[in-house]
Amino acid sequence: MITFVVRRLIATVFLLIIVSIITFAIFFLLPKLGGQTTYGLATQYVGRNPTRAAVLQVEHQLGLNQPLQVQYWHYLKAIVAGEHYSAGPHSVYCPPPCFGYSFKSQQPVWPQMVSDAPVTLSLAIGAAVIWLVSGVAVGVVSALKRGSLIDRLSMGTALAGISLPIFFTGLISLLLFSYKWPVFPDVQYVGLTTNPLLWARNLVLPWVTLAFLYSALYARLTRAGMLETMSEDYIRTARAKGLAERKVVLKHALRAVLTPIITIFGLDLGLLLGGAVLTETTFSLHGLGFFTIQAIQNQDFPEIMGVVMLASFFIVIANMVVDILYAYVDPRVRH
C-alpha cells in the first residue's frame, strides 16, 4: 500500500511538472509565434507613451529577453525555494510557493490568490454540499418510485438542469431574486468569520445556481446506479431473507451506489474552478474565477500561470486521493 501511495505521489508531481511545462510553453511561445516581440510584450506593462529606455528596463526586469528554458527554470525554482525580487529600494523575499510577481499590479501572485481563495472555496463547498445531498436524495427517490409522477418530474427537471448553462440560470436567479423580488439583494462576499449569517445569505443565489447543474447530474447518476444495484442478486437475497425494505435500500443498495458517486464527486470538486469562472463572472464575485478572467484580460502571464497551476494542482490532487482511496477499498487496483 505504501509503495502504491509513493508511486502515485511521484506520478502526481511529475504530472504537475508536465502541465507546467506545457502551459509555460504555450503562453510564452505562442505569442512569439504570432509575431509578438519581447519588446512589444514589455510595452504593455509600462503604461502610456513610454520611453524606449523604460520599456527596455521592464523587459529586462521581467526577464522576458531570456531564453525560455531559463525563464522556466527560474519559475520552477521560485515555487520550490522562493525568490528575491527587486521592487523598490530593497529586494523583497518572496517565500515559497512563490508564483512570481504580477506584471501588472506589481504584487506577488500567491498572496493575491490566497486572498481570493475563500470566496471560491465558500462557493464550492456550499454548492457541493447542496448538490451532493439533493442530487443523491432525488436520485434515490426517483429510482425507488421508478416510473411514478415524482420520478418523471424530477428526472425532467434534472434533464433541464444539465441542459441549462450556469450563466443563464444565474442571470435568471439574479433577475428574479435580486431585482424583482429582492429576497437576496446583495451577492457580495462577506467573510465567514466576519458575519456568518450574511456570508450564507449573500451566497445563496450562487450556491443554488451552481448546485442546480450538478444536482441534476448526480440525481441522474444516482438513479441509474440504484436501478442497476436493485436488480443485483444480493439485494434479492437480502429481501428474500426478510429484511425491511428501508434497510435494504439504505444499508445495501445505497452503499454500493455511493462509491462511484463519491469518486466522481472528488473529481468534480477538483474541476470546480472552471465552474467558478462562470458563476463568479455572472455574479461578479471576486474569487479565483474572477481573478482568472482578469489575469487573462490583462495578459498578466505570472497570474495566468498561477491560476492554471493551482487549478491543475486541485485536479491532480483530487485524482490522486480518489485513486488512493480506491486502492484502499479494492486491493486489486494497486498492481
Binding site: I18, I26, E228
Partner: protein
C-alpha cells in the same frame, strides 16, 4: 466543468446487455441496429428530441437565407433615453417576432438563427474531432496494451489535468486575430473546434479504451486471431463494429456538452467575433451592460435557445442509450 459523460460501470457491458434485453418475442433475423431502432421509435420523448434536433439542423442550414439582415439597425424601435426597445417583451412585433436588441434595434430572430448555425457547426465539428481522436487513441491503447497503452493513458491523464475552461479562454486570448493563414471568424471557428475537440477527446478515449480492453478478451476476437487475422483486420472488422453503439451514444451526448462549452466561451468574450451573433455573446452583452434587468427578453431569448438545443440533444442521446442498453431505463 464536469465530465461530459456519465461513465458508469455498465457501459462496458452494453453490447451484451442488448442481447440479454432481447426478449423471446423478438422476431428472428433482426440485427442489433434494427432492434435498437425499434426501441428508439417507441420512445416518444427521444423521438421528440430527435425531431427538434432535425428542425434545428434545418434552421441552421437554410434559416439564414429566410431571416432579415441581422446587422440592420432599427434606431426607431429603441427608446434613446433608456437604450431599451419600445413596447413590451423586448419590442416583439409582427416584423420582429422575437423582438429587437437593446441599443441597436437589430432583429433578434435573425441573430438567433445565425447563432444556431455557428453553435451547431462548432458543436458537430468539435465532437467529430473529439470522437475521431478518442476512438483512434482508445482503440489503439486498448488493443495493443503494454507501453502503447501506458503512454496513451498517461497523456490522457495530462489532458484531464488541465483546467479546461481556464485554459481554453487563456489560449484563445493569446492567439492573434490572424494566424495560420486564417483570419476573422474562419480562424475563430477553427480555433474553437480544435480547442474544444482537443480537450474532449480523452473522455471518449477512456470509454473506448475500456470497451476495447474487454472486447479484446472475448471469444470472437480470439477466434479471429486463431484463424490468422492480423491487427488491422481485427481492429476494423471485429472490434470497431462492436464499438459503434457506444460511439454513437456518447457522440450524441458529447454534442450538447460541446455546445454548452462553446456558449460559455462566447459568454466570456473569447468565442465568435462580432458582428456575427452568437448566443453566449448575447447573454454576455445582457449582463455586461446591465440590460438583463431592464430588458429581460434580451437574456431570455438566447438562453432559451441554448436550453432547447442542448435539451433536444440530451433527450435524443438518452433515448439512444436506453435503446442500446435497456437496463438503465
Amino acid at each position: 466543468m464536469t465530465a461530459p459523460i456519465e461513465v458508469s460501470g455498465d457501459a462496458a457491458a452494453a453490447p451484451e446487455a442488448v442481447l440479454s434485453g432481447v426478449s423471446a418475442k423478438v422476431v428472428e433475423g433482426r440485427s442489433l441496429g434494427q432492434i435498437a431502432w425499434l426501441r428508439l421509435r417507441r420512445d416518444r420523448v427521444a423521438m421528440t428530441g430527435g425531431l427538434i434536433v432535425l428542425v434545428l439542423i434545418v434552421i441552421a442550414i437554410i434559416g439564414p437565407y429566410f431571416v432579415q439582415n441581422p446587422s440592420t439597425y432599427h434606431a426607431g424601435l429603441i427608446n434613446p433615453t433608456f437604450s431599451r426597445p419600445n413596447g413590451a417583451f423586448g419590442g416583439i412585433s409582427l416584423a420582429h417576432p422575437l423582438g429587437v436588441e437593446p441599443v441597436t434595434g437589430r432583429d433578434m430572430l435573425a441573430r438567433i438563427v445565425i447563432g444556431a448555425r455557428y453553435s451547431l457547426l462548432i458543436g458537430f465539428l468539435a465532437t467529430a474531432l473529439a470522437v475521431a481522436l478518442g476512438v483512434l487513441m482508445g482503440v489503439i491503447a486498448g488493443y495493443f496494451g503494454g507501453w502503447v497503452d501506458s503512454v496513451i493513458a498517461r497523456s490522457m491523464d495530462v489532458f484531464l489535468a488541465f483546467p479546461l475552461l481556464v485554459f481554453a479562454i487563456a489560449l484563445v486570448g493569446v492567439i492573434p486575430s490572424s494566424a495560420f493563414g486564417l483570419s476573422g471568424n474562419t480562424l475563430r471557428v477553427t480555433l474553437l473546434v480544435f480547442i474544444i475537440g482537443f480537450f474532449a477527446w480523452p473522455y471518449m478515449g477512456r470509454i473506448i479504451r475500456g470497451q476495447t480492453l474487454s472486447l479484446r478478451e472475448r471469444e470472437f476476437v480470439d477466434a479471429a486471431r486463431s484463424m490468422g487475422a492480423r491487427g488491422p483486420y481485427i481492429l476494423f472488422r471485429e472490434l470497431l463494429p462492436n464499438l459503434v453503439g457506444p460511439i454513437l451514444v456518447y457522440s450524441t451526448l458529447l454534442i450538447p456538452t460541446n455546445i454548452l462549452f462553446e456558449a460559455a466561451l462566447d459568454y466570456l468574450g473569447v468565442g465568435i467575433v462580432p458582428p456575427t451573433p452568437s448566443w453566449g455573446q448575447m447573454l454576455a452583452n445582457a449582463v455586461q451592460q446591465g440590460f438583463f434587468s431592464v430588458d429581460p427578453m434580451y437574456m431570455v431569448v438566447p438562453g432559451v435557445a441554448i436550453f432547447i438545443t442542448v435539451m433536444a440533444f440530451n433527450l435524443f442521446g438518452d433515448g439512444l442509450r436506453d435503446a442500446l442498453d435497456p437496463r438503465t431505463r
